[in-house]
């Protein structure tokens, strides 16, 4: 059993990270912690991908003349890179939404914000918001592939 856990540590770790992140993302009311949860979740997926391409004792896949070598699989690495780009842009979007909500409701607690929103404080805040022109953040969505 212990052997199996040690052998599969990367996969177990990645799934643990994913579940931890998922729990934080859904259960924590604080927006910044939600973002941290999102990042943990993404990291779990990336570790899972990278673990698949990894081989014990493998080297970076660069061919050298004459030497017999074991290479790790480069394709998952490429996928992780693409995934990181996606994760960065989604974190940026999430942060910008958080900024916008904070500017309007002066709180980072989502439950608090929802309560204020339904109790109709929205209208009062809206006028304040018109003056402080929010910074634009709509350009981080062109992922290079």
């Amino acid at each position: 059993m212990l052997d199996l856990i040690i052998h599969q540590r990367l996969y177990i770790g990645s799934i643990a990270l994913f579940i931890l992140g998922l729990g934080t993302l859904f259960l924590h009311p604080n927006l910044i912690k939600k973002i941290i949860g999102l990042n943990l979740m993404d990291t779990g997926s990336f570790l899972f991908l990278a673990a698949m391409g990894y081989m014990e004792g493998g080297q970076a896949p660069i061919l050298e003349e004459g030497a017999e070598q074991v290479f790790i699989n480069p394709v998952p690495g490429g996928l992780v890179l693409t995934g990181i780009v996606v994760a960065v842009s989604s974190t940026a979007l999430f942060l910008s939404l958080t900024c916008r909500l904070y500017r309007r409701y002066h709180s980072l607690n989502l439950d608090d914000i929802l309560m204020r929103m339904w109790s109709g404080e929205d209208k009062v805040e809206q006028e304040e918001d018109q003056e402080s022109n929010p910074v634009s953040e709509q350009e981080e969505n062109e992922e290079p592939k």
Partner: protein
């Protein structure tokens, strides 16, 4: 096949991506609107040409991006079904943008309108790429692009409600894409492929030898759940009503008409081109989709009845219509998949029409989207009222309209299933009745006499020629789909035959 025909899939994606990048650089706001629509019309024309060509030679082809073979390269694939979907999606996109133009001007700050065009064009690119891609990982990347742009499009209206709605949407969709990515990783882990044809061969091989059945099932569950969260399938539809009711008209129309459909097309590819119907049925995935669809079409319809806000009701109705597609895919036969494709098209033309109509009705009413505020709005904006009426009746299943044809196809596909026949027919009948229960009172309200002493804001320019053209085209498309079922089904069936 000529050089141009061969390059149409790549050109469609490339042109729309290029125009998206150009949009925010244009000096005047109307230029971006025109550019976006011109590019979409060009893609529309190219897709029609491609569809006619592929239908005459009865073939499909794969296109290697940059001429690199697998596993380094990336492939696109085009067949009659892909060309048909691209055609319809381009048309819906142009019409929704045109019909929602007035609301975009009202809801979005002038200096942001060019950027809004950028968002819309990126969404469009993502959907077209999901239609044409032959590579699972490319599919994942465009899922993410669609999710991020759709969230920003919701928040573009800049109210507290829309920001919270976008956040909730975003949390759900990042979970969905995380699950899809996990599923793709597992699949890559056990097969070593990301392109669909080699994946299918490898999976068939694994199934024959009885190897890795557990990871294979896990990957299928993860991807189906991921895509169902993304497409707001019951029980993951919690984000949808807020997101659709707080966005501007064009956002809601395009998200429900196209973006959800993009995920469905990807699911169709997973079913037919990656796992194969037999394997999925053995893993009980078809039953899972069927039950989710059946429960979804009943429960979300019941939720729709309870809504006092017209936009929220239409949003719940979207979730119910997505459930029809899941139900069709879960039937586990080719007829079911064909019916699912038809439902994709029917809903893609009907729901944006309803949203465009509702947007104009809200403007013609007392300014808010509650039923009490739009009482009698149909009399002030007749064409919008007709759009809402025809769309509602189509979803209830009035013959000669697209919704009826979709229901008919679903019903006839259900006849040839196993245990699913009676539940499917029961679900169709009950959900049609429920559709009528929430749409017909709505239709009566908008044509009713306005309440005594109601104060209407001055009539805006809701009846501009753009809105008229959009609604009339939607109406024609709806009647066309409803009356020319045979032709459309012929293209779908031929596409599906070439699919696997």
């Amino acid at each position: 096949m000529s050089f141009l025909t061969f390059n149409i899939p790549m050109l469609s994606i490339f042109l729309s991506l290029l125009s998206a990048v150009i949009c925010p650089m244009l000096p005047k706001k109307n230029q971006a609107f025109h550019l976006v629509r011109i590019v979409e019309l060009i893609v529309l024309a190219m897709s029609v040409y491609l569809m006619v060509q592929l239908m005459t030679i009865r073939e499909s082809f794969t296109y290697m991006m940059g001429h690199f073979p697998a596993p380094w390269g990336n492939e696109l694939r085009a067949g009659p079904l892909e060309a048909l979907l691209a055609t319809c999606f381009s048309l819906v996109m142009v019409l929704s943008l045109t019909g929602g133009a007035e609301d975009i001007r009202r809801d979005i700050m002038p200096h942001r309108q060019n950027r809004y065009c950028l968002l819309m064009q990126l969404l469009y690119t993502a959907v077209i790429a999901m239609v044409y891609t032959n590579d699972l990982f490319t599919g994942y990347v465009f899922i993410e692009i669609a999710a991020i742009t759709a969230c920003i499009a919701v928040v573009a209206k800049e109210s507290g409600h829309s920001t919270v709605a976008a956040m909730r949407y975003f949390i759900f969709s990042s979970l969905g894409s995380g699950l899809v990515l996990m599923g793709i990783s597992i699949l890559y882990c056990i097969t070593g492929h990301l392109l669909m044809e080699p994946l299918q061969v490898a999976i068939a091989d694994l199934c024959q030898k009885g190897l890795y059945q557990l990871p294979l099932t896990a990957s299928a569950v993860l991807m189906i759940l991921g895509l169902s969260i993304k497409s707001a399938q019951f029980p993951f539809h919690a984000w949808l009503p807020d997101a659709y009711s707080s966005g501007t008209t064009a956002t809601s129309a395009i998200s429900s008409g196209l973006v959800l459909k993009g995920y469905m097309v990807l699911l169709l590819k997973l079913i037919l081109r990656v796992y194969g119907l037999g394997t999925l049925a053995r893993m009980h995935m078809c039953n899972l989709m069927f039950i989710m669809g059946l429960l979804g079409m009943l429960i979300t319809s019941v939720s729709a009845i309870r809504q006092e806000n017209v936009n929220r009701m239409v949003a719940y109705s979207s979730a119910a219509q997505i459930s029809y597609i899941f139900l069709a895919f879960g039937m586990g036969n080719l007829a079911g998949l064909a019916a699912g494709c038809f439902q994709i098209l029917a809903h893609a033309f009907t729901k944006p029409m309803i949203f465009v109509g509702t947007g104009a009705l809200i403007r013609a009413g007392q300014g808010r989207s509650f039923w009490s505020d739009i009482r009698g709005a149909g009399r002030r904006a007749p064409l919008a009222g007709i759009a809402f009426t025809v769309g509602g009746l189509s979803l209830c299943g009035l013959p000669l309209l697209a919704g009826f044809a979709a229901k008919y196809q679903l019903g006839s596909a259900a006849i040839s299933c196993g245990w699913q026949t009676y539940p499917a027919l029961f679900g169709l009948a009950v959900s049609s009745v429920l559709n009528a229960v929430y749409f017909i009172p709505g239709i009566l309200v908008i044509w009713n006499r306005p309440p005594e002493g109601a104060v209407f804001p001055p009539m805006p320019r809701s009846s501009t020629y753009q809105h008229k053209i959009s609604v009339i085209c939607f109406l024609i498309a709806n009647v066309f789909l409803g009356s020319m079922v045979g032709t459309v089904m012929m293209v779908i069936n031929r596409g599906l035959q070439l699919f696997s």
